[in-house]
């Protein structure tokens, strides 16, 4: 007890979970990525639909505060400096190369959103033993199209998680399951830009939970314009007379939000009509292409059934080139107007917000 008291006297003011609530959650900046939950080593935070909630005594280790992608303490210089890529670009982030790619695996083609690159990279890494598991967003078995965080340990798990869910998902909560529950030592994180920033944070920010960062082998980023809360998405569909449980696929292509049932397109509305339904926290985000990922994957810039792949780091190159060389993926050069349109849309996001 004496030692404890002495220890506490020595401290300067440390950031507690309450500071995170004050600086991020109450300002509507929280992206519900789930990094705070995973960062907390005394398991005092849990994730709800409204954001992180305290469920136990905070021991003020500051890990949640500095791991948060929206925390004022996040230093962009550190994040930028962490990527050793050749081309520095303000809008697309720094990168080594941009290509178009798609999977050759038929089981992936049938379930994937675009080129199936993300799913294939995960399968490759799992089969080669580069990772023990992947952090993905799987579909809830209770509510249709509600993404739930999941640790994918097998190829089946990865395939189950394929396809884009346009609701935000606290994927990084699954990092806790992976590292604390399953005791894995190498994981791959798949996420949208805010989650990618968080995952990069814990690798490079000195005060973030770097223990977690050590165990993240790869970060695969997705392109993301915005996401929609699951409740609102369901509302929007109901107002258009569509039952979300019957939907087979969502897609955003050519500026339109498209909804498919079976193979038939049942709804196609311009994306700006959905502005009111989008998440508030997306309004402050300027990052379209997951600047701090090892590999970023998205649809913009490549043709139908192809994905645009941005390789940003050496680890990313190792993963992506390995998958290509081992015949998991086929690649082609991206058309020059592909990069142009990607840059245009990225710029729009960066300047608008």
């Amino acid at each position: 007890m004496e030692a404890l008291r002495k220890a506490e006297e020595n401290f300067v003011v440390l950031k507690a979970f309450n500071d995170l609530v004050l600086d991020v959650v109450s300002k509507d900046l929280c992206t519900k990525c789930g990094m705070c939950v995973s960062s907390c080593q005394v398991h005092a935070i849990s994730m709800t639909d409204e954001g992180p909630k305290s469920v136990g005594p905070c021991r003020q280790c500051e890990a949640c505060y500095y791991g948060c992608p929206r925390s004022p303490a996040t230093s962009e210089e550190l994040l930028k400096a962490s990527l050793s890529s050749e081309k520095k670009d303000d809008i697309l982030g720094s990168y080594n190369k941009i290509v178009s790619a798609r999977t050759v695996l038929s089981e992936v083609k049938s379930v994937a959103q675009d080129g199936g690159v993300v799913t294939t990279l995960l399968i490759y890494a799992l089969e080669e033993g580069l990772i023990d598991g992947g952090i993905v967003a799987s579909k809830s078995t209770i509510e249709a199209w509600k993404p739930v965080p999941k640790v994918a340990l097998s190829i089946n798990d990865v395939l189950e998680a394929a396809g884009t869910k346009y609701s935000n998902c606290p994927s990084l909560v699954a990092l806790k399951d992976a590292l604390y529950g399953y005791d894995l030592s190498k994981v791959c994180v798949v996420g949208v830009p805010c989650q990618v920033t968080a995952a990069r944070n814990v690798k490079v920010q000195p005060k973030a939970a770097r223990k977690i960062g050590d165990k993240i082998a790869f970060i695969i980023g997705l392109f993301c314009m915005e996401s929609f809360p699951h409740v609102k998405l369901a509302q929007f569909l109901t107002s258009n007379g569509i039952d979300i449980a019957k939907v087979s696929k969502f897609d955003i292509k050519e500026g339109k939000f498209r909804v498919y049932m079976g193979d038939a397109e049942v709804l196609s509305v311009p994306i700006r009509n959905l502005k009111d339904y989008a998440n508030r926290f997306c309004e402050t985000c300027r990052d379209l292409t997951s600047w701090y990922a090892d590999v970023s994957v998205g649809a913009i810039g490549s043709g139908r059934d192809w994905s645009t792949v941005i390789v940003r780091s050496d680890e990313g190159a190792k993963l992506f080139d390995g998958a290509v060389q081992n015949g998991y993926l086929e690649v082609k050069d991206i058309e020059s107007d592909g990069i142009e349109s990607l840059r245009k849309i990225a710029k729009r996001k960066a300047s608008k917000n």
């Binding site: 220890a7 401290f11 300067v12 021991r59 500051e62 005060k207 050590d214």
Partner: protein, 112 residues
């Protein structure tokens, strides 16, 4: 009646290597998970003090040295449970393999 099994036992033990090792000169291999003396990685530590707060044996104190607060593990109190390693968010405490920790003075029992 019980003689043959006895002879077999004697024979087997005569030919066996000794079950013991000559300790200071020879050491038994340690398991991968062995919990020995702490290795503190000062460059990783940010001085949050979570280890000191969680330590079941109150063996860790936070001391500031040249303006940097970092933990000191008193091995005389430590129970080697490595809850501190489990709980350190920055991975600044590592399990060491050193187990010969006897010393003449208490000062030497402190890992900094």
């Amino acid at each position: 009646m019980r003689l043959p099994s006895l002879i077999r036992e004697v024979w087997a033990n005569l030919l066996k290597k000794p079950a013991t090792v000559k300790y200071p000169f020879e050491k038994l291999p340690l398991s991968k998970t062995y919990r020995g003396k702490h290795e503190l990685m000062r460059d990783r530590c940010v001085g949050c003090g979570l280890c000191a707060k969680i330590c079941p044996a109150f063996a860790i104190t936070m001391r500031s040295v040249y303006g940097k607060v970092s933990p000191e593990v008193d091995l005389a109190k430590c129970i080697f449970c490595y809850q501190c390693e489990d709980v350190c968010p920055r991975g600044a405490i590592k399990r060491g393999k050193e187990y010969e920790l006897a010393s003449w003075s208490r000062n030497e029992m402190i890992v900094r």
